[in-house]
Assembly symmetry: C2
Homo-oligomer: 319 residues x 2
């Protein structure tokens, strides 16, 4: 009987997946574990069964669905917006933090911390209406190119993860983004790229204010930092359910993975380990972007699955 | 051609609705307008067409999907929780605002404002984990009875509105609750009662904090008052799209209706007018709960549809 129960998921896997749903993943333990989790979730009465309403899967974005080197792409957006807006602000030529951005003064930029980032955010992300900001992001994402690869940023999204998102949706999961990035920076383009609609995006937020007549105005004040312990909080605010699957790549995702994998029933925590310096970027414990340290130490004991980019992915960007 | 275009929605209406989707609504202009809006939304190329991704409909809860007299049901929950918790707090016998609640001292209760309400909220809604609070609400909603009708509160939900929610979902709309009530007070039971899952509920929130180990703890601090101008803000945070249909019953819904109906393309604003003192409660401009004044004045000019409960509803609670 035990033996039959073990075989059942494989049987349903074949029914569910007429063709290989993860063609960009190399054959091996990682791919097998992902398919086994998904297929078992469908088998009513089985140990791996997940009720349809509980099929909530949350994915970090930066470094998990698209690249994040040499810096978060939203930070590149900010720096480029400062250059675009500079003619309207002649005073920026002599005023930090704008001066360093305009002069591409790397030494000074390196000294910037939260204070300077918030000033740059307020200058580029606030004051306009939500609709206007959405248009600015939509235009930028269509045309801006990555500084070293020369690709559009949407071309630096991970094909294997997009296949995983689709396989989960085919199995009745609701897929969400839960990212430290700005929710208004992601909503305009993620549906076309990942198949995730704007209403399934959780991210950092600045406060918006309603203005009579039907307008939402973006203020410069921070409302939620959707990172670290802020991720389960963002999940509470927007989803209101403990996810059964959480996927991330840095210690900023640790609490989300812990929150998702400490509930009852079948759970899956995924950590994407950036091991491929040739096809993408290799970094972990020492990186200033996407630092992964505690996650690597504790993944084994916690039963989280580590995705080894170099070993597990046949293709990174869908080449 | 114009004539044919007018007939098209009726044709598709018949295809879409094999049986009457709104059997608890009396025949008349209101029901016809609702069905025309829904059926036109399906007709690609027609003036009333709504792209699937834009089919977002938001519904107030108190006084719109269930009753709200003689006071908000969540306030009754609070008062009953004070009584349940009193044995653990002997000091409440001599301490306001608890003393008046325990003694059912109506004169003193009437003097209470926001300060007292927040104290009662903190004592009954905070301190515990989110999972614990969810269990408390689930138990209460299964057993508590309305003070004058003797019904379960879930039996005081409006059958015509539940039919409208279902008809919208059948036409590909995502239905959301957007309520001044607490999101954590609604999430545990709304799916069973309205068919709206917890992740499609926007409501007022207190702050939650993540605790290591996988727990969300409820603090006493207010995070969002999802009422009046707070409703479009809540919609921004959770949905990130301007709804094409918004439904409410009080001036607390005014900004949500304005926000929904000032976008481009087909839009529908609904105001439920409580005109039926026999089957439910009759109130509007002078009511201390669910006051409807500006909405009645401006509905005509804004093209919002007023639902007249007495005239338009064949059944209120599905008797």
């Amino acid at each position: 009987m035990k033996y039959l129960t073990c075989l059942l998921p494989l049987f349903f896997l074949n029914l569910l997946f007429a063709a290989d749903p993860l063609p960009s993943w190399n054959e091996g333990d990682t791919k097998a574990s992902l398919l086994a989790f998904i297929s078992a979730s469908q088998v009513e009465g089985g140990e791996g069964y997940i009720a349809p309403g509980d099929r909530i899967a949350t994915f970090d974005n930066d470094g998990n669905l698209w690249s994040e080197q040499p810096m978060y792409f939203q930070l590149i957006f900010i720096l480029e917006r400062v250059a675009v807006l500079a003619p309207e602000h002649p005073e920026w030529k002599e005023q930090q933090p704008f001066k360093a951005v305009l002069e591409k003064d790397k030494e000074t930029l390196k000294t910037f911390g939260e204070k300077e980032l918030l000033e740059l955010m307020a200058a580029t992300h606030a004051g306009m209406t939500e609709d206007e900001f959405s248009d600015i992001v939509s235009e930028w994402i269509k045309t801006a190119k990555h500084p070293t690869t020369g690709k559009l940023y949407t071309e630096m999204t991970y094909q294997p993860m997009k296949e995983l998102l689709q396989a989960l949706r085919d199995a009745g999961f609701k897929t969400y983004i839960v990212s430290g990035g700005g929710v208004s920076f992601m909503r305009p383009w993620v549906e076309a790229v990942y198949g995730i609609p704007p209403e399934q995006v959780v991210g950092s937020r600045i406060k918006v204010e309603y203005e009579d007549g039907g307008t939402l105005r973006r203020t410069g004040e921070i409302d939620l930092i959707d990172d670290k312990a802020g991720k389960p909080v963002g999940i509470y605010q927007v989803i209101g359910k403990r996810p059964v699957l959480a996927s991330g790549n840095s210690d900023g995702d640790f609490q989300m993975l812990e929150y998702a994998t400490t509930g009852e029933g079948p759970r899956l925590g995924l950590i994407l380990h950036h091991t491929d310096g040739e096809r993408e970027f290799a970094y972990d414990r020492e990186s200033h972007v996407g630092k992964l340290d505690r996650g690597l130490d504790e993944a084994g004991d916690r039963g989280w699955l580590i995705i080894d980019m170099k070993k597990d992915w046949g293709s990174v960007f869908g080449e």
